[in-house]
Amino acid sequence: MRAETREHLFDVAVIGAGVVGCAVARDIGRRGMSCVLVDRADDVGDATSKANTAILHTGFDAEPGTLESRLVARGHQLLSDYAGEAGVALERIGALVLAWDDDQRAALPGLREKALSNGYGAVAVLDAHEAYRREPFLGPGCLGALAIPDESIIDPWSTTIALATDAVRSGVDLRLETEVVGVTTVAGVHRLETTTGSLAARWVCNVAGLGADRLDNIFGHAEFHVTARRGQLVVFDKMARQLVSSILLPVPTQRSKGVLVAPTVYGNVLLGPTAEDLDDRTDTASTADGVEQLRAAGSRVLPRLLDEEVTSVFAGLRAATEHRDFQIRAYPEERYLCVGGIRSTGLTASMAIAEHVVELLGSAGEDVVRLDDASGATRFPPLGECQVRPYRDAALIATDPEYGRIVCHCELVSAGELRDAFESPVPPRSTGGIRRRTRAMNGRCQGFYCAATVVSALAAARGIDPRHLLGLDGGQS
C-alpha cells in the first residue's frame, strides 16, 4: 500500500537504529543525502544500545592497529565534544584497572604499553597505597592499579536519542516498528520489503547489530557470524555512589573486559556485565547464576556495595563475532555497506564509525560535501546528576511550574519533562522509551508511586489504549 503512495528513492537506507545506526543516519542526513532509518523495535536504541555499561572508552586496551582501535580513539573525541554541545551528561571520572594477584599486577605494565601503542599516553601504574587512597572502599587485597584518567561515563540513552533527533531534524525519515523482511535489487535500486511497506534506496547500510550477519547473507556475503553475548548488569541504589569515584576495571582477558564497577551519570552504581554466549539472539533474561557471579565479583572489589539496595537487574546482548575487530566493509559496485561486529565499544565509536561510513560513501563517488552545520546539535534535557536538573532550577520552574510538578519522586522527574518528551521529534512509544528519556520509573521504587501516572500520560499522549502499552493486546513480539 505504502509502496504505491511513497515511491521515493532514498539515497541511503540505514537498517538498524541503534546508537551506531543513528549516528550514521545523522551524518548522512547532514551531508544532504536523503536517508531512511528503519528499525523493527518501537524505539531507537532498543537492543544492544540500551543495555551496556555506559562507558566512554579511551580505547587504551584495544588491539593496536585495528579499525576498532582507531575508531574508538576518534569516537571518544567526537562523542565527548558532541555530548558537550548536546547537553548529554558525561563525567570524566577516570578508570582504575585493579590487580588482585601477582599475575595481574605483572600484567599492568603490559597494559600500559598497549595503551601507548593505541596512542593513549596518560596512563600511570599506581601502587596499592595510591589505589586505596583514591578508592578507600576497595576490598582487601588490591596490589596495584593502572590509572586511565580519560575513561568517562556517559548517558547512553540520551546519546542515541540525541543522534536520532538530530538525524530527524536533518531530514532523515525514521521508521520504527518496521522490520525488513526481504531485499531485491533491480537495476541498481534496492527494494526493501518491510512490515510497513516497501522502500527503495540506492544504497543500503547494514547496521543491524545482532542481525547484521543475516542481512549480510541476504546481500550474498558471509564474512562473519554473530553470536549473541549476553551481559547481565546489576544497578545499585544511588546511595552507593559515595562508595566509588572512578570506573573500577579488572585486568581484561582475551574474551571480555570482565566485570566492572562503575558509577552512572544518573548517580547509581553499576556492576557487570557477564559474558555468556547464547544461541538465542533474543534472550535478555537475567539468571540467578549470572547475578550470583556478579555479586561474587562485586564483593571482592567493593564489599560494601552488596549492602546497598538493588535498583534494577537487566541484561543486554552484544554482537560478538569470530573476529577481533569491527566488520565494516563497503561494496561500491553493489552500493551496499556492512557495519557489523560492533562490540561493546560501539557507543564510544559510534560517531567515528559514522564518519568512516561517510568517507566510504565519498570514496564510492557519492557527494558527501560537508554542510555548514550552523544549527549545531539540539540541546537535550539534563538527566545527569552533574547537570542542573529541572526540579532544582528555580528560574525554569518560575517560567513553567510544570517543571516543579514532580511525577517520579525517586528520580525527581517533573511533569514538564514528560510533556517535553512526548512533544519531542523522537517521542517515546513505550514505558521503556519514557524511562530512557526522562528516568521516570527508573528509581529505587521502580514505579511504586509513579507507574500508573506515567502509563496514563503516555497512553493519552499517544492516543492509544493503555492495554497496548501493558502488553495486554495479545502480541508478544
Binding site: 535498583t311 516543579g404 525527581l412 514505579g447
Partner: protein, 420 residues
Amino acid sequence: MTTGRVQSEACAREVADVVVIGSGPAGLAAATAIRRSHPGRVLVVERQARAGGIPAQCDHRGFGLRDLHRSYSGPDYSRALAGQALEAGVEIITETTAFIESDGALAITGPAGLRHVEAAHVLLATGARERPRTARLVPGTRPAGVFTTGQLQQFVRRSLPVGSRALVVGAEHVSFSAVLTLREAGVAVRAMVTDLEEAQSLPVANAVLRHLYRVPLMTRTAVVSLEGRRRLQGVTLEDCVTGARLSVEVDTIVFSGGWVPEYGLARSAGVVLDPGSGGPAVDALGRTSRIGWFAAGNLVHPVETADSTAVQAARVGAGMAASLTRTRGPLAPAVPVRVAAPLAWVWPNLVRPGLTSGGDVTLLRTAEFGAQRSVRFSQDGRELGTYRIRHLTPNRSLRVGAAWRNGVSAEGGLVTASLH
C-alpha cells in the same frame, strides 16, 4: 559531583518552626500534636497530589481504630487526619518534594517554585515502600505485569488494566490487601506464595483466602524466574524444601510487602541509619543523629499499622513541641540498641540515658516463627529486662514494655536485644 546551590539568591525561602516531610498518618499525627501545644508555624510537605500517604490509596476499611476510635476506609481516614491537622493550625502543602542540597540544607520544590527551608526542627516521616521485584533479585525477563501492591492499587484506582490471572508473592497483611484489590479488578488470583512456613497475617484472613476466595496458599515456595517478553506469561516457583519446580501461567504478579524505609532523604541529609530497620536510628522521642532532625512513623519501624503509627508519631510530636520551648543544648550521648538474629529490628534503637524516655512501648520484628519465647535486653552482659512473648510471627508487630531503657548506662556499650 552535584553542583552547589542553584541560583540561591533567586531562590525563595520557607521559614517555619517545624517542617514535617510526609503527610501519612505519622506526619499528620505528629504535626497535629506539635501545633496543639506550640503556636508557631508547622508546615507539612507532601509530594503526592493529596495528603494522607499510603492509606489514601487503600479503599478497604479498618483504619483508625487505635487513634480515632472508629473504623474508616483508607481515604476517609486520611481526610480525617488531615482535617484534624488543619483544624489545629497546621499548614499542608501538596505536590511538593523535599530534597537535600549538596551542602546538606533542606530544600523543597513544586509547581510553586524552588524554596530553601529554614526550620528549627525537621521531622522525617517519609514512610516505607514495598521492595520491588528488582531489589528482590528475581531473575528472568522484564515484561509488563509485574507490580507491587501500591502500584497495583494505583492502577486499579485509575482504571488501568491489570491482566486476568495473578500470583501474589508474600503473605503478610498487605498481601491480603493485594488479593482484595485484584478480585475487585476482576483478576483471578491463582495462588499466594510465601517462602516462610506460614502466612503472617490474621487467621481470619487465611480463612477468607482459603474458604471464601479459594486461593491456595503455597508456603515454603520461592519465585525463581519470570517469563514473557512484552507481558508476563509465566512464573517458575520452587519448593524451598525439595527444590521441585512448578510453572504457573499468569499475566500478573504482585510482589507485596517486604517493606523498605523510604530512606533517601534521611541518608542524603547525613542522618545515621539503624542497620536493623534500615531507617534512621532514633531514640523514643524520634531524635536522630542530626541535631534538630527527628524521624517517626514507618520510616523508623517498617511497618506498623497506620493507626499505631499515628499514636507513636503523636508522642514524637509532643516531644518536639516541648523541646521547641526549651533552651537546646547538645544532645545527650546515645547508646545504640542492636538486635541478635532472628530478631530483625527494634524501635527505638537509641537510648539517651537521663532524658525523658518517651512512651512505654518497644517494637520488635522477628525473621522466624516461634512460640513461648522471651526477649532479653542486656548491656555489657547485664540484664536490663526480659519480656515473655507468646507468638513470634515474621512481618507482624511485636510489642514489649519499655522499662528496660531505665537501666541503660550512658557509659556502657551497646544494648543487645535477643531471643531466648
